[in-house]
Assembly symmetry: C2
Amino acid sequence: MREYYSITELTREFDISTRTLRFYEDEGLIQPVRRGRTRLFRPTDRHLVKQIMRGKRLGFSINEIREIIQMYKEPPGEVGQLNLMIKRIEEKREDLRQKRRDLEETLAELDHAEEACVERLVELGVTT
Amino acid sequence: MREYYSITELTREFDISTRTLRFYEDEGLIQPVRRGRTRLFRPTDRHLVKQIMRGKRLGFSINEIREIIQMYKEPPGEVGQLNLMIKRIEEKREDLRQKRRDLEETLAELDHAEEACVERLVELGVTT
DNA sequence: CACGGCATTTACGTAAAAGTCAATCGATCA
DNA sequence: TGATCGATTGACTTTTACGTAAATGCCGTG
């Protein structure tokens, strides 16, 4: 496991801009350390970026991603806080389950659409 | 099956504003008919709205949703167009499969986070 | 030491997707 | 007939998530 990644390494790996990484830092999603003024990204920062990109692909906003990231962190020490966190996690999971239903339905409709296209090709006498 | 829905009926059903429905009309995603100036939404418009909301939850942009909706329509009559459409459909499906992987990974991490919370509660001697 | 290349900060810009507000119109109820 | 309710249009505003530009810092190489 590498100790540090440069900002450009991460921009290449995740196909995002430096601006985007600095933006995520401003938003408090990642906390790269500094050597002088230069940012040094540790493996945990890299992993966070990976999680952020996943969240983005799933259509979560920065705020929602921030919430999700909170959940991955060490669980709090107090009972009330723990129960609250469990509740929040359950909510997010329900959210994700809805997305999964949406996803399966969309996939099914696309399957259907593709079949219709293929059938149409057959009608037109195209040798597959 | 109802013949027409009013704009407010649909805003209530989908929990969106009238502004949003008009916006979708401006964007050409739906084409409600008119009685005078009043919009009348047919079942097909309602179904389109349902598909739009699904797309939104999955993080697709309006343009992407527009593309997807195109794919649900009648397949074109020309062979080149049909092959192009099949290619586009396959791309979208790959996109959705990526989302599905993201989704499963996120769900797994949330499961993990919840377990950690529950364990912590046990450590604290909370009777479940 | 000058230079190229990467990095930084600050500041302003922008596209997408609506929200909000004001003025108006038309149908209907009392 | 006047008031009220729902709908419409148009203009302006807002939020999110960065993009872009300008000016400058840091550093290894020849």
